[in-house]
Each structure stands twice: as C-alpha cells, then as structure tokens.
C-alpha cells in the first residue's frame, strides 16, 4: 500500500475526452472521459470484453496496428491531442511505453533486449550503464548480471516479464502501460512485479489493466472501472473512477460494488 495518499493534481498525465473506439462498425468503447494522474498507478478493471485493453492501447496509439480500428474523441498527453493528424504515433510510443500480457522478449541477448529500444531512439550515452540501471530498476540485475549475452528467451517467465519492463524503462518513457502483466505468472513472480511497480511509481506514471481485484487494491492509487453498456450494444463504458481505497470500500454505484465483491460476471 502506498503511504502518500493520492491528491488531486493540477496536470493530468493523460486526459481523454469522449474517447470512442470502433472495430469496423462495432463500437468497443464509448465516450470515455478520464484523467490519469502523473506518478500514480492507475488500475483499469472490469469484466472481460469491456474494452480495457482497447482503451489502454489507445493511450499510445497501438490500436492502429489493427487495420479495422477507428478512434474518435481526444487523448491528451500533456495537453496535446495525440490523435491530431500531425502527431507521429512513433513519437507517442517513445513517450508512452508498453508491457504486454504475455512476456515477449526479443529472441536476442538480454543485453540487446534492453539496449535496442534506446539505440533506435538515438541514445548516445553509455549503453552499459543504461542497461545496468534499467535492469536494476526492473529488479532483475542480480539475477541476470552473469547472463547478459544469453538469449532473453532462456529466462523464466517472471524474469522475462521483468526484462520487458526493463526494456520499456530503458527508453525513458513518461508513462508505462501494462496490460495484465502478471496473468501469465505464478504468485511469487506476480508479487515481485507488484513490488517493482510500486518502486517504479516514484518515477513513472503507470496504468495497469488487471483482472485481479486484490492486485488492483494492493498496487494502485486510483482505479477505473469499466463495464459493458446495458443497451444491448455491448460497448465498453467507464462506470466509475476514483481513489482505489474509496472505490473498494465505498463504491458509488451498485454495479461497481457487485463487480468488486464478485457478485458479477
């Protein structure tokens, strides 16, 4: 649990205005208005298929890799709408990194995994140091310091996921998006990643999608609850958003309470 209770900050790290996302003609996400606070961990929870991953990928324009996706509304990153036509998605992703559900290290050495992103982003400094510090921040250094030239795929699942986190940090993003980063891991590996997230929150803004209520309660400062619209169109909507503590103890809406207490879905 965090010791500094989250306070309302003036500037949001990410702010969405009427964000709607379509797969072809199917509206997967409807009119989301959300402001993510900097240096906080924000959890996104909700039943399966309610568009959590879709919203998360909208934050760094990863949805564009799927041909049929269409996005409307605004996503402001430091006051700039990242969906304006003159914005480069590649630049966006350099500032907003991502960690995926399944660990996906490159089939290259541990060292290369960390160094590659920084290198293509024009990093000029001491690469060894960067790799070292990134692995250290990802709490992986001690385990891999003798295996830097081994394939990233030779690590255990939990180590691979931390390697992916190290890889994301090495680019020095402002925000790290994590889509169910622990769902493929065992409880001990999960615990380590959660500790790591708390550490990283000192320097980064983290948004995490999770199915695990305890996890959301343990690590996050704020929680956004999504659910499907009840008009039969099955569009994902933001139902409730607030401080995690408040939300888990005194949710405003019935549907949130039902979901959190497991009476739902």
């Amino acid at each position: 649990m965090t010791d500094t209770a989250p306070t309302a900050t003036a500037t949001a790290a990410i702010e969405t205005n009427d964000l709607s996302i379509y797969y072809g003609s199917f509206q997967a996400v409807r009119d989301v208005n959300l402001d993510i606070q900097p240096n906080r961990i924000t959890a996104i929870i909700g039943p399966s298929g309610c568009g959590k991953s879709t919203v998360l990928r909208a934050f760094n324009r990863m949805n564009e890799l799927i041909p049929s996706v269409n996005t409307t509304g605004e996503v402001l990153f430091r006051g700039q709408n990242i969906y304006k036509p003159d914005v480069d998605p590649v630049e966006v992703r350099r500032h907003i990194g991502m960690v995926f559900q399944k660990p996906n290290p490159f089939p290259k050495s541990v060292y290369e995994n960390v160094a590659w992103g920084a290198r293509i982003n024009g990093f000029k400094g001491n690469m060894d140091e960067l790799v070292h510090s990134s692995l250290q921040s990802a709490a992986l250094w001690d385990e891999v310091k003798d295996k830097l030239d081994q394939s990233g795929l030779s690590l255990s699942g939990g180590q691979q996921q931390r390697l992916c986190i190290a890889r994301a940090i090495a680019v020095r993003p402002d925000i790290i998006l994590m889509d169910e980063p622990c769902s493929a891991l065992d409880p001990i590996a999960t615990l380590r990643i959660e500790e790591l997230m708390r550490d990283l929150a000192k320097d980064y803004t983290i948004i995490i999608v999770t199915h695990n209520m305890q996890q959301a309660a343990r690590v996050s400062d704020r929680t956004a609850f999504f659910s499907l619209s009840e008009d039969g169109k099955r569009a994902g909507m933001l139902m409730e958003y607030g401080d995690t503590k408040t939300m888990f103890t005194r949710p405003e809406k019935k549907i949130t309470e039902d979901y959190i207490t497991g009476r739902f879905g």
Partner: protein, 405 residues
C-alpha cells in the same frame, strides 16, 4: 443390421484399403522406375574401338598413363598435323598444360576411341555373357568395357558432337550463371514484395489485386515466361541484355539471347514463388514481437529490419532455395528465349551465349542416336545431384539457424 451384412461391409473395407495402398505403391514404383531408368542409361557396357591402340603408344614398356608430360607431348606431336599442334600451342602453350590435359588431347586426337555399341545397365547385369559373345562376334576389333557415363571427364569436358569426349562442363557453368542472375534479381525483389504485402499493405483494392495477381502468376505455365522473356528481354531490351549498350560486346554479332536474358527470365518465373514462400515465413513471425518493437517507439522499417526479417530469414531462405531448385530444372522457357544449341567454350559473363544442364539433357535425349541417351542419363544424374545438394543446403541452413537462435 445382420451380422453377415456387417462382415461384407468390413470385407469391402479391406479390399478398398488394399486399393488405396496400391495407389501409393504405384507412386513409389513410378519414382523407383524414374531413378532406375536414369541409372540404367548412365552405366553399362560399351564396345570401344580405338583408332590407335594405347598399347602401341607405350614407350619402352611404360604404359601411356604413366608417361611423363614431355613424353606425352612428343607422342602427340608425332601423331597430329603440325598445323593442329601449332593451334594447340597457340590456344595454351604446352609448357602451361598439365600432363592430364595432354593425356586428354592424346585420347581425343590420337587414340580416338569410338563407341560402336552400348548396352544398358540392366542388360549388362543380367545378360553379361551374351553381350560379351555378341560384341566379340560383331565388333572383333572392339574391346568391351563397363562404362560409367558419369565420370570426371564428363564433368570437366565441354560439349562435343563426339559422344566419346562430350561433357557437361559448359552446361553446368551456364546453369550456375543463369541461376545466380535469377537469384540476384528475384531474391531482393521477392522479399521486398513479400515484406510490402505482409507488413505495409493496407487492405485496399490495389493490394488485393497485387496479391491475387501473384497467386495467378504462380500458376502461369513456364513456357509463357519464355515467350515474355523473348519479347521483352531478348528483343525490346536487346541493347542491354546483349551488352551492346555497355560496350561489352560486338554490335555486329551480339544479340539478346544471352545468359543475362535467361537469368532474368528465370528470375521473373520464380518471383511469385519466392514472394509466396517469403510471405508464409513472414506470417509465421509472432505478432507479439512486432508489438514489443512498436511499443518501444520503433518505426515500421525498424521493426521489419531488426525483428521481422531476422526471425523470418531461415524460412525465407528455405523457400527461396526450393524455388530456385525449380528454376534450375526449367528448360522450356530457356529454349524459347533461344538457348544456343552448341556451345563449347565456358561462358565468360552475363553477355555470353548460353546453354544449361536441362537444355543439354533435352538436346541429347532428342538426338536419334541412342548413344546420346546415355549422355542424357549421365547429365540427368548431374542435375539431380545438383538439386540434392541445394535441398540439403536448405535443410542444413535451416537447422543451423534454428540452433543459433
């Protein structure tokens, strides 16, 4: 359902199972027959008559094979005309020729062995005694020897109208040249097209047309590519493919029927195959790698170059080698664009006239004299050997790459 009925049904099932198995066996027999037929033509007895017997050329009891070079040169000089000797000296001074080369010249010009009859491997093995008798009766001056039509001389010697000394050297070199040009052209273009279609192309009309078109091109008969090559590479682009535009050949005699035209034609022919194979290999690269790369702020090309291609390359190589083995056996398109019928000198470069191994096989098979069929058999063995080597390379390459990953 009565029991006897069921029995009948099961019996029918067994009968048909045998029928199905026979179909496979027929296929296997066909393959065996194909291979046997080639071996049958490539080995066997021949009756040879020497114009001058090698024994009579022995010096002081030393047999011809064991003589040193000077002695061999003397024998050659003694038996051929001064003019011919001077020509050989002019082509390559005897001082520079090895003993083996001089021996070959003696064989060709002095001993002049002539094949008067030849038998297949099957006849040779099953009917050896009868053949010996028959040969002794019909060709009293000839000696009967077991010949492998595939031998080192056959591989080293250029084409010749005498079956006794003909070889596949020029044809093999021609094949290697054309195929190299085909690869140099089709590999980069094919992989680039595959990358475009898999990684870049949005799903719109033009890209769907391109994809459909490639699939259709893969089914176009190869002879059509020959006609295309004849019209475009040989004729329209003749200035370039003949080398005249580069000052590389003599405008008076050169034409576009060159190695370059042949290579480009084969390149266009295998292009759709390479594209389709490369697309499959690229498709097999897991999407999670692309996402990881994009998530780090990589551009599309960085993603392709650093992640997609390195992971697809072994598949692409395997597919390319398989496509190329198809091209190496292609004959019809090269005949149409005008392979030369008779070439004795090694190809010197892309602007040389050409022949290839399959064309050589075709021409030898098409000759009425049966002795050339034996040569065709030997050449087929060489071709199959070449293909086997390429496929083995593909497999080794794939395995080695897998291990290093």
């Amino acid at each position: 359902m009565t029991a006897s009925n069921l029995q009948g049904r099961h019996r029918l099932g067994r009968v048909w199972l045998v029928v199905f198995q026979i179909a496979l066996v027929v296929g296997i027999i066909a393959l065996c027959a194909l291979l046997f037929n080639i071996l049958n033509g490539s080995f066997g007895f021949v009756a040879v008559e020497d114009t001058v017997s090698p024994e009579s050329l022995a010096v002081n009891g030393v047999p011809l094979e064991d003589l040193d070079k000077d002695a061999l040169v003397q024998i050659l000089q003694a038996h051929i005309s001064a003019g011919l000797y001077a020509r050989y000296e002019f082509e390559k001074p005897f001082a520079e020729r090895s003993a083996g080369e001089v021996y070959d010249l003696i064989l060709e010009r002095v001993i002049e062995p002539r094949f008067v009859a030849q038998w297949s491997l099957y006849e040779t093995l099953t009917n050896g005694d009868a053949i010996r008798q028959q040969a002794a009766q019909e060709f009293p001056n000839a000696r009967l020897e077991f010949r492998s039509w595939l031998n080192s001389h056959f591989l080293r010697a250029p084409q010749s109208s005498y079956p006794e000394i003909a070889g596949v050297r020029t044809a093999v070199l021609g094949s290697l040249w054309t195929i190299s040009i085909a690869v140099l052209f089709a590999f980069p273009v094919g992989v680039a097209a595959a990358v475009y279609l898999q990684e870049y192309a949005p799903d719109n009309l033009i890209n769907r047309i391109i994809q459909t078109n490639i699939n259709n091109l893969a089914g176009v008969p190869s002879i059509i590519y020959g006609i295309l090559g004849l019209a475009i590479f040989v004729r329209v682009l003749g200035q370039f493919t003949s080398g005249i535009a580069f000052g590389a050949s003599d405008p008076a005699t050169a034409n576009g029927r060159t190695i370059l035209s042949a290579g480009l034609t084969l390149g266009v022919l295998v292009l759709p195959l390479i594209i389709i194979n490369a697309q499959e290999a690229i498709k097999a690269v897991p999407n999670s790698l692309r996402q990881a790369s994009f998530g780090l702020g990589a551009t599309r090309w960085e993603t392709v170059w650093y992640h997609v291609l390195p992971n697809a390359i072994s598949g692409i190589m395997t597919g390319t080698i398989l496509s190329i083995s198809r091209a190496i056996g292609e004959t019809a398109p090269l005949i149409v664009i005008g392979a030369s019928t008779f070439i004795q000198v090694d190809p010197e470069g892309p602007f040389s006239k050409f022949t290839t191994l399959p064309i050589q096989i075709y021409q030898w098979t098409a000759r009425p004299q049966s002795v050339f069929r034996n040569l065709a058999g030997g050449a087929s063995l060489v071709l199959l050997g070449l293909l086997l080597t390429m496929n083995a390379t593909a497999i080794i390459l794939r395995n080695r790459y897998r291990r290093s990953l």
